[in-house]
């Protein structure tokens, strides 16, 4: 049965490379091979009929002159010795990036993953892993996947970002095909802005940053998208509980030019609008004199497009375009009419935020030792908030033609924030030998910051203005960021490998200028063939600050450059670990880190959600942070079954002298974090997934002292709020309360089917938080008012995320 379903009628016409692609997609393995191997010749027979992976590989490479060897999730291809091929076997232990065009994608040689790379804190994820993984709320998600990794705090459930090694959410560098992206979340963090259908691979750095990266202090998420297929048209269509996706790719000129398009949209608004209308009609039915309406809608959209042209196998040009947008609209209206008066109110809230990105990428291999990549781009971040509140009143008892009989009050608030980056990046790779890899390059970015807030308030009575004001607050700032780097990775001996680098960045904005010299060093000592010890040191700087009054990812947030009062942020991090592989497909990695952060900013609270822009630095306190801890990553991985456990023991602290005279825990100071994952590919039709996530509770601030209300004669000495038996709560150390621990279990299942037309269809059924743990998002405290003399506080944790079953249906064509 499985063999029948898996058989592909057209396989007789396939090349070996295409067959490899089918096997890769089916069994989740990656091929590592030398591009000189004859993989473009046709393959023989229905190799997918062989039932298991080894059978398929045997059939595919039979008589092809290619030998294969399976090592966990990687299939190593070499020239078969019997053919007398002149090719020498590749050095499996040292393969880093082996480029090829299998399924128009880059194959990443990830033999033994952490064993092989010099860097500490690096996780590589290939795009197929997202497509096979758990789909929270119907779509697989980049951020949710990264949040499970050790050393990464997830923050507030569902409304979160990445908090890496004690960092804040705004200090992660997200690169989409080499272009920085600012708005990385949809719906306040529930979805990430990255469509996994077009992701080829992802590199996630938590420490040991190579010198080619700069501009953020906590982490780097380098996402590469896939080129379109150069030979045939194909795509997928997916529909889920909250969103739908379409992806389509194929050749424009066969073997020369290809395209890849993907669009994703949520349709919560399509459901919510009619529901609101029906509810309003039902509510207003029978109400003669009053009408009330509440309309609410939210949607997000993102669109990826790329075109790639190969001038030759060593020379290619690609253009990428991305636009993502969120839209939230809310309208509340009420009107009442009587013989005496007519009154109406209407409140409109309209928010939108997103990115737009366009880039051109030129890659050229001058020789087998020299290659170059040049990227020019424009990356824009947009957010808009519009708020209008109108009140009208008309007195019917007087002459209706007399305009002096009414009152009108109007409040309006608007916020626009625009950030445009125009940049040019050039990277050169030089490989003088297999043991030596030099990277050098530079970049220039012109930042244009244009946040703009305004507020208007008017009140007219009897046609005459009582007051009518409109205030505007805006900033026009330009930043110039230029960086150069040199990175040298070499094997000094058979057991010692080093990656040394230096990055220098010059930044200027509004008459202020800074120079940042950032040393980077990573060292790998191979103790045994399967055991490495690594250490690294990295300094990073960040010159742009996310100006936000809350910890949420909201459109009221904006970005502004460092200034006289707020200097660029700086992080210094040392990391070390041991990475080992054991027999029977087991591995264990243990890594520790210590990191300091300077010039962190924290909102000082003296404002609304809109920060005063012209002197925003005065709205923030400047402090520092430190984070240290230990990560353990252990697991068992075979093509059919993978079991992984990620554990983190960490401390994350802050020092803001204006808040507290000492170090205090950060709000994401999760002492313990544990993730257990299992992925079982039962056969070619079914795969199961489950993950249990646990971390110590987040922290928040509660009062520690109470000052009883004191009333003497007619004087309230401390507070005159007479409704409270307790007069004054006093706060001391910030983040002094640890919320209850967080944990949840997710399960999911993929069911692969064949349609009548031979197309592949996948049903994904997932359940988020299967045992319905209501994890606390925040807590309030209370006391028993019937016993005012006793103020033993009880916390009430509030959570909103129950069990969420979801599904999606994906059809590949």
């Amino acid at each position: 049965m499985v063999a029948i379903m898996l058989s592909v009628p057209a396989s007789a016409q396939m090349s070996i490379k295409e067959g490899m692609a089918r096997i890769s997609e089916r069994y989740g393995v990656n091929f590592v091979y030398d591009t000189a191997l004859p993989v473009n010749v046709p393959c023989h027979g229905a190799f997918l009929d062989k039932g298991d992976l080894d059978g398929c590989l045997d059939a595919l490479f039979k008589d092809s002159g290619i030998a294969w060897e399976r090592r966990r999730k990687f299939v190593i291809l070499t020239a078969a010795k019997t053919e007398g091929s002149p090719l020498s076997p590749p050095e499996h232990n040292e393969i880093s990036f082996q480029m090829d065009t299998i399924t128009a994608a880059k194959i990443t040689g990830m033999i033994d993953r952490n064993i092989n790379f010099t860097q500490t804190g690096l996780t590589k994820i290939d795009g197929a892993a997202f497509r096979r993984g758990f789909a929270v709320l119907s779509s697989p998600d980049v951020l949710k996947t990264l949040q499970t990794l050790p050393g990464v705090a997830s923050g507030t459930e569902m409304l979160s970002n990445l908090y890496v090694h004690g960092g804040d959410g705004s200090d992660n560098l997200f690169l989409l095909d080499g272009v920085p992206l600012y708005q990385i979340c949809h719906l306040g963090g529930i979805f990430s802005a990255f469509n996994t259908d077009v992701i080829d691979n992802l590199d996630f750095y938590k420490s040991g940053f190579p010198a080619r990266y700069g501009g953020r202090t906590s982490s780097v998420v380098d996402i590469k998208t896939r080129d379109g297929d150069f030979k045939e048209y194909k795509g997928l269509f997916s529909i889920g509980l909250l969103d739908g996706r379409i992806q389509f790719e194929g050749p424009i000129v066969k073997d020369r030019t290809s395209f890849n398009l993907a669009i994703r949209r949520s349709w919560a608004d399509a459901i919510m609008y009619p529901i609101c209308r029906i509810r309003d009609n039902k509510r207003n039915d029978g109400m003669n004199n009053t009408t009330k309406s509440n309309v609410l809608g939210y949607s997000f959209t993102d669109f990826n497009a790329s075109v790639t042209h190969k001038f030759s196998e060593n020379d290619r040009l690609s253009a990428h375009f991305y636009i993502g947008n969120d839209s939230f609209k809310k309208t509340d209206s009420f009107s009442s009419a009587s013989d005496v008066a007519v009154m109406s109110t209407q409140t409109d809230t309209d928010m939108g935020w997103g990115n737009i990105l366009a880039s051109v990428n030129w890659q050229k291999d001058f020789s087998s030792r020299w290659n170059m990549r040049v990227v020019s781009y424009w990356s824009g971040s947009r957010s808009v908030v519009n708020y209008n509140d109108t009140y009208d009143y008309m007195d019917n008892t007087l002459d209706v033609n007399d305009t002096s009989t009414g009152a009108e009050k109007h409040n309006a608030m608007l916020g626009h924030s625009v950030l445009d980056d125009i940049g040019l990046t050039a990277d050169f790779d030089w490989k003088p030998s297999t043991a030596h890899h030099v990277r050098l390059g530079g970049n220039y970015i012109h930042h244009s910051f244009r946040p703009d807030y305004g507020y208007g308030e008017s009140y007219y009575v009897s046609g005459r203005p009582v007051y009518d004001v409109f205030l505007r607050d805006s900033v026009r700032a330009n930043g110039h960021e230029a960086g150069i780097y040199l990175e040298d990775e070499m094997s000094l001996t058979s057991w010692l490998k080093v990656n040394m680098g230096l990055r220098n960045t010059v930044y200027s904005a509004d008459g202020n200028a800074w120079n940042s010299l950032e040393p980077r060093l990573a060292l790998k000592v191979q103790l045994a063939p399967d055991v490495n010890v690594k250490t690294s040191y990295a300094e990073m700087s960040q010159f742009s600050h996310q100006v936000a009054t809350t910890y949420l990812d909201l459109p009221t947030n904006c970005w502004l450059p460092s200034g006289q009062l707020v200097a660029p942020m700086r992080s210094r991090q040392v990391a070390a670990g041991i990475y080992s592989k054991f027999p029977h497909d087991l591995h264990l990695n243990v890594e520790g880190w210590f990191k300091t952060m300077d010039n962190l900013v924290e909102y000082n609270g003296m404002n609304s959600m809109f920060v005063r822009l012209d002197e925003w630095e005065e709205s923030f306190k400047v402090g520092k942070g430190r984070s240290y801890g230990l990560e353990v990553d252990g697991g068992y991985e075979t093509p059919a079954l993978s079991l992984n456990a990620f554990y983190t023991l960490s401390w994350n602290e802050r020092f803001f002298e204006d808040f507290w005279q000492g170090w205090y825990p950060d709000r994401n100071d999760n002492r313990h974090k544990l993730t257990l994952q299992a992925n079982w590919r039962i056969n070619g039709k079914y795969e199961l997934y489950s993950a249990w996530n646990y971390h110590s509770g987040n922290r928040m601030t509660v009062p520690t002292q109470v000052l009883p209300q004191v009333y003497t004669n007619d004087v309230w000495l401390v507070d005159n709020d007479q409704t409270m038996p307790i007069s004054k709560w006093l706060y001391e150390e910030p983040n002094n309360l640890k919320l209850p621990d967080y944990h949840r279990l997710d399960i999911g299942m993929n069911i692969h089917r064949r349609t009548w037309h031979g197309r592949e269809a996948v049903w994904n059924i997932s359940v988020y938080n299967i045992y319905c743990r209501i994890n606390p998002i925040y807590a309030t405290f209370s006391y028993d008012s019937t016993k005012p003399e006793e103020v033993k506080l009880e916390g009430v944790s509030h959570g909103f995320i129950p069990i969420i079953p979801t599904f999606s249906y994906t059809l590949r064509f």
Binding site: V469, Y551, N720, C772, K792
Partner: protein, 332 residues
């Protein structure tokens, strides 16, 4: 079989729709401290409030007013021997300590206190410079003042208007003095960036309060950085605070404009009270416009508002101020 199905469905629904709130114990190790509040300045008598706080998690000791304590109050190093008030006289009330006379500008004030129950506390401050001469424009619904300042940093000004209403019906004559209420306007609109520079507090030289007790509008030191201070606000009068009068009564109004100069400690202390007392529901225009820290900070969404203190080992504040006021002004 049918019952089993129903049972399973009910159990599933019970799991699905279980409450979204859970009780848990807050375990915070805290010990009681001394709370000190004192605002030396131009008031004729300096009042010192000293209480013992109650750490959360235990029972409230309502006898927090200390019967006895070793209290030292020094002005420029000279001990002033504060006295414990046993009964009310004037603005001095039982339970507090007092020092007769005002404290001049520029004077250094030091307080130490010990009660034997909790750790001793200490604090010191310097009384701000005198408020310079200022010009003013006053109407029945607005006031503006202008003055030149010498030192920009850490100078905080406050503005208040006092109204005196005299009602004379021939037989009796009633005189009432109240504070005019600062009103929202372009200089202070709830929830907008422009309200960062000022806040409304109650201040009478003895206590300071937050929401609901507005009579002094206080600006941050941003307004004094250019060497010249121009402050303005709309004012209103709550008639409920004043005596009722009949049509035939003779009514007269006159005003005083007061300009305060606060120390940084007093500003930060008032600011922390001001922010922590704000509630998201205060404003009808919704969450967008509400000041966030006083409300959302309680839910961990924004940085918390902490109780400012400059009292070592304790809580509260020792902070000075000065004030200059006009003579009574009639608007006729």
């Amino acid at each position: 079989m049918r019952y089993r199905h129903y049972t399973l469905i009910i159990l599933a629904l019970a799991v699905l729709f279980q409450g979204c709130e859970r009780q848990f114990d807050i375990d915070i190790s805290a010990t009681g401290k001394l709370f000190l509040q004192c605002f030396p300045g131009q008031r004729d008598t300096t009042i010192i409030q000293l209480y013992k706080t109650n750490p959360l998690g235990g029972k409230v000791d309502f006898s927090s007013i200390l019967d006895e304590a070793d209290l030292s109050f020094k002005v420029n190093g000279v001990e002033c021997n504060p006295q414990k008030a046993r009964q009310r006289f004037g603005s001095v009330y039982p339970g507090c300590w007092f020092v007769p006379g005002n404290v001049p500008s520029g004077a250094k004030v030091e307080i130490t206190a010990e009660c034997g129950i909790v750790d001793p506390v200490g604090a010191s401050t310097v009384i701000p410079a005198l408020v310079p001469e200022f010009s003013y424009i006053l109407s029945d619904d607005a006031v503006s003042i202008s003055l030149n300042v010498d030192n920009a940093a850490n100078t905080y000004y406050g503005l208040a208007v006092i109204c005196e209403r005299t009602v004379d019906n021939g037989d009796t004559r009633e005189v009432w003095t109240v504070n005019m209420d600062p009103l929202d306007d372009g200089g202070k609109i709830a929830g907008m960036p422009y309200n960062r520079t000022c806040m409304d507090i109650e201040f009478d030289g003895r206590t300071v309060g937050g929401k609901g007790k507005d009579n002094v509008r206080v600006w941050s030191d941003e307004v004094s950085k250019e060497g010249k201070v121009d402050l303005a606000m709309r004012i209103g009068l709550d008639d409920g605070k004043l005596p009722i009068y009949d049509m035939g009564d003779s009514v007269s109004l006159r005003y005083k404009v007061r300009v305060y100069r606060f120390s940084r400690e007093l500003f930060l202390y008032a600011e922390s009270l001001f922010l922590s007392s704000y509630d998201v529901n205060t404003y009808s225009s919704g969450i967008i416009s509400a000041p966030v820290s006083g409300s959302w900070g309680k839910y961990g969404i924004t940085p918390p508002v902490l109780s400012f203190t400059n009292v070592s080992n304790g809580l509260g504040v020792l902070a000075g101020w000065t004030m200059r006021e006009t003579e009574w002004i009639s608007l006729d």
